[in-house]
Symmetry: C2
Subunit: 306 residues, 2 copies
């Protein structure tokens, strides 16, 4: 069944190169040579009721925070500084019933949503400069478009990984569904600190799970990878979830989405801020090495099926 | 009942000024001093199934065209040149049933959607540089974020109209629902030609109908307006629609949305490209002068009620 990747590959084949565009479709953000001295990065992400949040369960300020932070995490993935954002909100007309009635009015709900967005944006000096609101018969849907600037650091893409590079993550993984998917902090400062070393060759933020996001780096860099199962840092939430669903904690660390830690490749010194989890190799296979066997790592993370 | 305007007013009150932002929330696009020699304009618009189009009736390439052209029309309103766009598509999971089944697969539907977008963007040398696709249990929803550049012409806003200015439109109005809401051409070249005269004081594109869009100019310029009922150019579609629904053709010309002609104020010479329809006055009233009486013009255009 064709998936999101196929569609994106097809779109890339349709779009000609442009002198304005340094990096186009297929990375976390596009890189534009707007002001040649300070590159402009732009990208958009959506959060949808029932997919990325549940408006019956989650507070509107947390939903607002999440939609901004997903986009700020894309800035982290490219090692750029966020500058401004524009947003859309499609509001359900039926919302006078539930859950919004508990909040007095939809206006108050929208204000909470906006304040959650604003607080998250303010934390990284990002101004919300415009948007569009509409109401419809569908569920709550939001998008944020982020504009960032390179500000002295060359943007990192998914396409620079080389055989021999180490593979690293910036924190423990798995089980974000227990709450972290709403409350994570985008790793912007750490991303820029790592990028400034000049030793990072490729970077992505973990939105869909390692098994899928590492595949983006490998595809776009034309390389393979071997991960060390024992080296993957596992979050306590993955342990909690594993006790409930009887899947292995490692399964959650590899396949759960929305960790929003960074996955990067390069030649980096040992550092308490990052954990080495594997090595980039030639070829196109992604393998997982257990102590007694090495197996192909299937992409079980989130992919929207078309 | 609080409406979209109240929410936008409230949001504006929450957002502090920033040295980067020349014009912020409340205009067709935000104006950013990114490269001081060439201002960056940015804005976002959404099109929603059942509100802005009907996926059971409208071909996907026309839907794609509309979402791009709505945004290009915002560029026209500011007299800027479009440069790049990013888009989101939220796809209904249920779409394997109807109407997408007729098209073979959702992938083909998405390709048609994209090709409609691309063709509209190409017509104005605008590159699509990124996006986000997801599937969900809601209806089809799309957004486009547009980045434009001032390219030698000072952006026009809604806030410069002055008492004594003429009020002008660039084409006949009303009845766009009969098809023009999908097939209009953004007035970018005309907008820049008009703005280059230096005699335009405020401009907006007619997305919500004159009775509402003129109100934006008046509110943000702190002025009132008198429109001449006999001078409003009426589109043939408004006449057709009036025969069907027995409303006056003028009613459609004043209150229908999605004409995407330009509404502008200033001191402009007589010109076949524009029609003078009234005069900006002091105060805050918007009046409509018939041959025998002058009445307040109610805002009956589209407003999303919160």
């Amino acid at each position: 069944m064709p998936g999101e990747f196929d569609f994106i590959d097809w779109i890339r084949s349709q779009v000609p190169s442009s002198p304005l565009v340094q990096t186009g479709i297929g990375d976390d953000l596009a890189v534009l040579k707007w002001d040649p001295a300070d590159l402009l990065l732009v990208g958009v992400d959506q959060v949808l009721d029932g997919v990325h949040f549940d408006s019956a369960k989650h507070a509107p300020d947390l939903i607002g925070r999440k939609v901004i932070n997903r986009n700020l995490s894309d800035c982290a993935a490219m090692a750029c500084l966020p500058a401004t954002a524009v947003a859309t909100v499609a509001l359900p007309r039926k919302s006078v019933v539930t859950p919004f009635s508990e909040m007095g009015s939809l206006l108050i709900f929208c204000q909470q949503l906006f304040l959650g967005m604003k607080q998250a944006a303010d934390a990284f000096d990002c101004s919300i400069v415009g948007g569009d609101t509409a109401s419809w018969d569908g569920p709550l849907a939001m998008t944020v478009t982020i504009l960032g600037r390179s500000a002295g650091i060359t943007p990192l893409t998914r396409s620079g990984a080389k055989a021999g590079d180490g593979i690293y993550v910036t924190g423990p993984l798995g089980g974000s569904i227990l709450g972290r998917h709403l409350t994570f902090t985008p790793r912007i400062h750490l991303a820029r600190q790592l990028a400034a070393t000049g030793n990072v060759t490729a970077m992505i933020d973990l939105s869909d799970g390692i098994s899928r996001d590492l595949r983006h780096i490998c595809r776009q860099s034309n390389v393979g990878a071997i991960l060390d199962a024992n080296a993957i840092p596992i979050h306590d939430d993955a342990l909690t979830l594993a006790r409930e669903d009887h899947l292995a904690p490692l399964h959650h660390a590899l396949h759960d989405g929305e960790d929003h830690e960074l996955l990067l490749t390069g030649q980096l010194a040992h550092d308490t801020l990052i954990t080495r989890i594997g090595t980039i190799v030639e070829g196109d296979q992604i393998l997982l090495r257990h102590h007694d066997r090495t197996v192909p790592l299937d992409a079980r993370g989130w992919e929207h099926v078309l």
